[in-house]
Every structure is written in C-alpha cells, then in structure tokens.
Amino acid sequence: MAAIQSDDISFYVHIPYCVKRCGYCDFNTYTPSELREGGTLETVSFDYIDAVLRELEIAHLEAPGAVPTIFFGGGTPSLLPARDLGRVISAIEERWDLSPACEITLEANPDTVDAQKLKELREVGFNRISFGMQSAVPHVLKILDRTHNPESIARVVQEARDAGFESVSLDLIYGTPGESLEDWKTSVESALSLGVDHLSAYALIVETGTKLAAQIKRGDLSMPNDDLMADMYLLVDEMCEASGLSWYELSNWAKSGHESRHNVAYWKNANWWGLGPGAHSHLNGIRWWNVKHPNAYKNALINSQSPVQERETLTPQQVSDEKAMLSIRMNYGILLSDLTVEQISRVEGYRESGHLDKSRWSEGSLQLTPQGRLIADRIVRELVV
C-alpha cells in the first residue's frame, strides 16, 4: 500500500504562544516574556507571522495544488490579533487554489475572544471555531489551571454563531484528578445543551515534565483511574449519540457534515504542511518536522535557511503500520479484505469479547465498538506484529 498521491495540500499553522502555561500541557508553546525580555504579544506576533510567511514561500515551491483545509492551532492562536492571522490566510489564498468550501479552523480560548474579535476573525476568513472548554465544573477547571468562567462558554458559542461561523466545536477533557463520573456528566450535558456541531473529548494524559505530573509524583493529586476513565468515555459516547452527534474518530463526535475535515486528512494520511516551530508535515510518504523553539525557527527563516529539524521517509511497512493505527480509530475502520488470514485470526477473539462490531464484521469491516475503542492500541498491536 503506497502513500496517497494527491495534489491537495492542507495547512496547519502553529501559534506557539499562551498567556500562561496550563498545568497539564506539554505542547510547544511559550509565554511572550519567555521569548523576549519585556516582550509583548504585539511585538512578537508580527515578527512571527513574517517568519511563517517565509516558510510559505518554501511550501509553494514544494507543494503546489488545491488547499482543502487550514487549521490554526497552538498554543493559543486566538491570542493573536485577527489581522495577523489573516495575513497567513491571505498569503495562502494568493498562491494556492482555495476552494470556497475550504475549511478554516481556529482553536480558541474562551477568555481571549468577544463578539467584536469573533466578527473580525470571521472577516479574515475563519469559518470553523473550536473552543477549549475542558470542563463545566469549577474544581476540575482549577486543577487544569484553566482561567475561564464556565458560564462564558455559552456566551462565546452564541457570539460565534452570531458572527457567522458555520461550524462550532468544543473540546472537553475527562479523567482530571478529583473529577467524578457525575462531574463529567455535568460537563458533557453542559456542552451538548449549547447545540454545538462537533465535540472532542480527550482522556487526560499526564505528560512527564508537566506541573500536573509533579503534583501527582508528590502525592498532592492522585493519578486518574483507568476504569473510571473508561466509564467516562462510554458515557460521553452515549450522550453524544443521543444528541445527534455521531462518533467518527476515537475522541470525536459530530453532526453529519461537521466532521473536522482537517483532522480527517491527518487520519487518512493525506498531504499537509505544518507551518511554525515544531510543526510536523507529511507529503507523499515523507514526514518532517521543524526546529522546536520559536526563536530558532525565526532565525533560520530570516537567514534563508530551512527550519526543518529532521525528515523520515516511510518504509512500506511503516506506511502500512500507520494506516492500521489510524484507520482503526475511525468509524469506517479497516476492510477485512485488506487484512491477512493471520491478522484476522489474531483479532477474531476481540469480536467474541464484544470489542469489534459483529454486524460490521459480517459486512466485511473491522470496526470498534465503544468498548473496543477503549483498547484500540492493544488491538492494533495484534495487527502489526
């Protein structure tokens, strides 16, 4: 199975800034003062966008074609002025064929937007917005170091609708130390009551090196319990389905037609270009990623050097492992006809134990049941041995 050959190229734009770092976060992000003594957001932002535009010049030489999706993630992209973000969208529009249906997503922190800003964001081209809600329960938000007021979510969702965003999504986190199943139910209910088009729900991962990991190590907080997290996952899945949001990827549910096309591109191993420090790219079976620190990234581009840190060319085995690893997380699953007899015999037991959907199996595909999704990594290991 060769990598997908296509002229389409999606863009990911990394905005590596946050006002402060949240306790659970290990992303490649910085506060402005960490980057430049006395630095303010305005001063770092403009320079930074200049560097991104330089990288776009390189991208244009290597990956011309149509652009189906653009995604601004971070960090906190909504921290930057809309006009700075708009410079990137305009630059892409100038050089690439941007269909009117192009999905342009912004990740936003509810604290950083108001009706006016949302209007400006819509004007520079964004049509999809994803708010980091995480929880509706104050004691959970506190552990996560999130500063927003739970009530503000309803406000920003309404303001985004009013500004004309076509698709509104919320992110939730479950399994925070101290969060009960009841707390989680409150958060999911609260998110679904807003009638959003899309919901992502992630199990909290305690990453080494984070403040949260240190708190757990010291014994101030206790590690989230796997069995409770499994119950939380089953609950959110059930509640989403009941509200008309269908499961389509392990941690994602959407109303029909509102699936994140950008993320689906990742999961189908399509081509995308990641702009910005630490951003990953994939082009026809080659993956690479940029240097991690924003200053190193800027310096490379200012000096007309490549910001790439490392590249890997995938072997056919790696391409096929990745395909299994990604497809199994999707609602379409894996075609049994793509599997060997030996692979099938290794996973058949999971059908009997209720981890694989029996009726889909009889129709010729391997699709995970909600219980199966919870052990997806284990089932993939059986497939790739």
């Binding site: 199990a203 990953h280 052990i375």
Partner: protein, 623 residues
C-alpha cells in the same frame, strides 16, 4: 634463609619421597585459607613479591569475588626446615570449603598424608569444617590444628583451642597460632608440617600408579589432569593409560605447579603435579581414575572416589528463546570442567526450550548459573529448585521425578523424598530460633551437644526439599549470620507430598508447579497466586489465577479485564511518535510468553520464581 630457590631445590622426578610432605587445608569460607596460602607462597619465595596478589590461587573471577575456592589447586613449595635444617618439598593442596564441594575435598584428602585444620580464632569451627575434619580423620590423615587470625582484637585462642582439642583428641597446647595476615607463626607451621606429617610411602620400582584428583579444561592446553603419584614414576613422553577405560594417551607434558605450571622430566613416588595429553574433555580423564604406564601397566587400581550425585534440579531457560543453542554450547563448555554438572534438554509450555540441570547443591547451582551468565553473556530464567522424588504408583510402577511437571497424575501409592542429616553449629543463644526454623521445615531433632560453654552443635534430619529453597538464608538471618550448616544425604523417606499446580485461565503453567508437603500446599498456593496477581498485567479478558491440587482449587485470584488501553489523541504531530511507540511495543510483544491466551511478561516469570534473597540481590545490583 629457610626458603630455597626453585633452581636449587630438589627437582621433580628426582626427589626422595622422604623429603616430600603432602598436605591439605581444611577451612571454612572466611577463615583465612587463601590468605594463609598467599603467605606460604610468599615465605617460600615461589612467587616473586612483585607478582604477588591477593587470593593468588583462586583463578576464577567468581572465586575471588565471593572469596570461595571452587576447584582444587596443588602447589609445590620448597622449604628448608628450621628444625633439622634439611631441604623438603611441601605440596599444598588447596580445597574448597563449601558443603556442595565436599567431593572435591575428599579428592584432595586422598592425595595427602596430612591436613591443616584451619580455624578463625574469633569465630570457632563451622559445621562444614567439622564434616571435612571427620572425613580427614576417617582417611587417617595427620591433623595439625591451627588457629588463624590471632592478630584480631576479638581473637579467643584459648577458648577455641580447647574446642579443637576436644574434637581431635589432642591438647589445647598442640594448636598452632598463626596470622595469615601478618605472617606470624607461618614459618613455624611449615616446620611442623615437616615434623608431624609422615612422608609418602610407595614402591618406586612398581608399575606406575597415579591418582587423578582433579581434571581441568583449559582453552589453550586442553585438559590438564592433576595427579598424585603413588607407585613408580611418570616420565615425559611416556605413553600412559587410564585404568578404567584402557585408553592410551600420549603424554605431551608433565610438570608441577609452582604456582605457575613448570614442566619437568617426570614425577616420582609421592609427588604431585599435572599431565597434559591433548584430550579435550574432562570425562576422558576422569577424577578418581588411576593413571598407569601403557607399556608396563598396573593390575590393581587405586581406590577412587564415589561419583558425586546431583541432589538439586532446576530448569534453566534462556530469556531470549533464540539463545537456546548458545546455552547448550555454554553448558557443554562448563561440563568440560565440572563433571558433577548434568543436564538434558527439556521444554516448558511457558518458558520454551531449555535444560533440566542437576547440581550438587544450592551453591553449585548458583555458581553454574552465574558462570553461564557471566562467561557466555546469557540472560537466564531458572525455575525453583527441586529434589528427586520416587513415586510409586498403584499399579506397582516406579517413577523418578526430577521436574514437578512430570509428577504422575494417576493413582499414587507413595512418594519418597531425599532426607539429609544436617549439622548446625551456632552460639547457644540461637537454639530456640534454630529449632523453630527446623520444626517449620519438617525437621526431626537427632541431638545437641555443647562444643564449648556457649556454642552448640544441633543435629536434625530434614527433607532435602525443605532446605533447597531458602533455608540457608533464613538460618543466617535468624542467627544474625552466626550459624553454619552442613548436611549429608542419608537416604529417602516417604512423605505426604502433593503437587500444587498454578493455573492461568484454567491452564496449568508448568514452570510454577511445585511438589510440597500437604500441610504447606495452601500457603504455597496463596503465595504464588498473590505474586502473579501483582505481576501479570490486565488482559483483554478476565484471567483467573488458581492454585490446585489435582482438580481441587485451593487458592484463587482474579485479574480483571483491561478496560482502557488507548491514547486518546492522535493529530498530525503525534503520528510519528505514536508509530515509533507501536514499533517498540511490537518488540516488547515478542518478549511476552503466551500461556494459552494469556500474555505473561518474562519479568513476571523471573520475579515469581525468585526467592526473597534473589530479589534483594537484584536490588543491590541495580544500586
């Protein structure tokens, strides 16, 4: 100067037996035998002071590190007596001190006319030394009692001289006082060896007869055979013959150890030295055999030794199944040097292919395992040690069981297990603790004697199976390290023994089966099920862990099915990282052992089979 240079000393093959003294040293580990030997090498000047190093005669790394001697050594020491001023040749035969190597001791004793009983005068005699002393007395050896470490502040020479005198039947004043460390008393000891130990007797004109007391494989030279000539003589370029096999060998080299090999013209009556014939396998040059001259062979062999019989068995498996051929090679190589090691291939459903190995005892087992791991760079899993059981079936058939998984399932009339007579020496304050331990281990008290006011000798019969696991560790820890243990097999006795199986998801795991006394089956079952519950990760389905005697379940634990094994997030930047993790897990999965449908990490096997002492050792090694 009482030392004589080697060049001027009486030469091998032309030394009058009247000038020769052959002696062994009987001592416990730590009582300073190697240091005393070092001192003798120094004082007699056979080793240049510049080349001197500690434990000169211990050649293996393990010997030096653990401070024990595994193989015998024989060194030729020229010495001018301080009493009569004449020249003599002393052959010192160094012997191992551990109970497992008693057979090595008995060989050394058979090659000597006398023995030094070396005792640390801060500790007193130990059980194993006592056993070896009795062995020497049975062989009519002249015993010279020597108290060592008189330089120590804690030395109690009067007390222990009285103890030795009582054991040997001499006067306390007959005990010599030495310090291997400072050298005090060592020249006097050499003089007393000459004065007290009789010279060897033999007929120089009779057909050659030499006793093989050790046989060592050397990578460069092939087998080096250590002999003591009794009658006649062996000359370089002779054709020699092994009495038991009748096989003829060319003698490529003959010589003495001084303490490096020193080729000579030959060996005469009473002399101790080595032969090299080019054979590659120690079994062709068997310990206890008689070497004679091919052209003029003797008709009567010397009394040999009993072949040592393996007492303890354990399965050895390579951690990585691909290392199986390496393990076979390593065992073959080790056996070249260790005729007491026996092994045959076996396979375990849980552990794959390996070998069932027979050992003389626990230390022997530990040393073999350590040498395999160290010298052949192997990582091994060893199953819990067990003894040999004789099972009588209802139909009258007898079955010998060296592996619990072979324990018959049919109707059993009786099971016999090996019994040992054990001797424990310890300060009297620990009598209670020792008796309690022995009772727990199904011991029967035979008797108790006071060696001195505050030291006792306690004798018990014990099933060997009860001491092969962790008895010695327990004995040491309950007596603050003061007790010493010796044992000898005295036969078999019937016991109420059952096989306890450990089942994972209803399937017995052969590596965990054990034969135990019925009263202890429940405790074993509880211990193993709890251990495995903690060690085996959760699986796709619930896994019951059961302990059973036949079809009767005696203990049970449940490993609940895993519910969550997934990373929730997988965006563009996560894909490479996640694939790399998957590739790593692929490798990890290969190291999993499948027991039926249950994946068991190898570490779980290792940990479940380990004793508390193993675990402490592993922890210490990690530090």
């Amino acid at each position: 100067m009482p030392a004589i240079s080697i060049a001027k000393a009486p030469q091998p093959a032309s030394t009058d037996p009247a000038q020769i003294r052959n002696f062994a040293i009987i001592a416990h580990i730590d009582h300073g035998k190697s240091t005393l030997a070092d001192r003798m090498l120094g004082i007699t000047e056979v080793v240049d002071p510049r080349n001197m190093r500690e434990q000169y005669l211990d050649r293996m790394d393990i010997e030096r590190e653990r401070g024990i001697t595994i193989k015998s050594q024989a060194v030729r020491l020229p010495w001018r007596s301080g009493i009569d001023g004449k020249e003599y040749i002393l052959n010192m035969i160094d012997t191992p001190g551990h109970v497992d190597f008693t057979y090595e001791v008995s060989r050394s004793l058979a090659a000597s006319e006398g023995a030094i009983l070396l005792v640390d005068c801060a500790q007193g005699i130990e059980a194993q030394t006592l056993a070896n002393l009795y062995l020497a007395m049975e062989n009519n050896l002249k015993i010279i009692p020597v108290l060592n470490k008189i330089d120590l502040p804690a030395a109690q020479p009067e007390k222990f001289a009285a103890e030795l005198a009582k054991l040997i039947g001499c006067e306390p004043s007959d005990c010599l006082l030495v310090s291997g460390k400072t050298g005090a008393g060592v020249p006097e000891l050499l003089d007393q060896i000459i004065a007290q130990i009789p010279p060897p007797q033999g007929d120089p004109n009779a057909p050659a007869r030499a006793l093989i007391f050790d046989s060592v494989y050397d990578v460069y030279r092939g087998v080096v055979t250590y002999v003591r000539v009794v009658d006649g003589h062996l000359t370089a370029r002779d054709q020699i013959q092994m009495f038991s096999t009748g096989v003829r060998h060319e003698m490529l080299e003959v010589g003495v150890i001084s303490p490096e090999p020193l080729p000579s013209k030959g060996l005469g009556v009473g002399e101790v030295g080595y032969l090299i014939t080019g054979v590659k396998d120690v079994r062709q040059s068997r310990v206890g055999d008689t070497v004679t001259n091919y052209n003029n062979p003797t008709k009567t062999p010397l009394a040999g030794y009993k072949d040592p019989k393996p007492m303890v068995f354990s399965g050895l498996y390579p951690l990585d199944g691909a290392d199986y051929p390496l393990l076979r090679e390593a065992l073959d190589k080790l056996q070249l040097n260790d005729a007491a090691l026996v092994y045959e291939p076996e396979s375990s459903a849980a552990l794959g292919f390996g070998f069932r190995c027979g050992f003389l005892g626990l230390l022997h087992m530990e040393i073999v395992r350590e040498r395999l791991e160290r010298e052949s760079k192997l990582s091994l899993i060893s199953t819990a040690p067990n003894v040999v059981y004789k099972v009588k079936l209802d139909d009258g058939k007898d079955v010998i069981v060296t592996n619990p998984s072979e324990f018959p399932t049919g109707k059993i009339m009786s099971v016999e297990e090996p019994i040992v007579r054990s001797t424990i020496l310890a300060p009297s304050e620990f009598i209670g603790a020792i008796m309690e331990l022995c009772q727990q281990r199904r011991g029967v008290l035979l008797g108790m004697d006071y060696l001195s006011e505050d030291r006792v000798e306690i004798r018990y019969t014990l099933p060997l199976a009860e001491i092969v696991f962790d008895f010695f560790d327990k004995l040491k820890s309950s007596t603050r390290g003061y007790a010493s243990l010796d044992y000898e097999a005295i036969g078999d006795a019937e016991g109420d023994l059952v096989k306890v199986d450990i089942l994972l998801q209803g399937e017995a795991v052969d590596a965990f089966s054990a034969i135990v006394h019925r009263d202890k089956a429940y405790a074993y079952g509880l211990m193993m099920t709890a251990k495995l519950h903690a060690l085996i990760p959760r699986q796709q389905f619930e896994v019951p862990i059961q302990a059973a005697i036949g079809s009767r379940i005696i203990a049970r634990e449940n490993i609940r099915a895993i519910r969550k094994d997934v990373l929730a997030k997988c965006y563009g930047g996560d894909i490479s990282r996640k694939r790399k993790l998957l590739e790593k897990q692929k490798e990890g999965k290969k190291r999993m052992k499948m027991v039926g449908r249950v994946e068991v990490p190898q570490e779980a096997f290792v940990a479940a089979l380990a004793t508390d002492a193993d675990i402490d050792k592993a922890k210490a090694a990690r530090k």
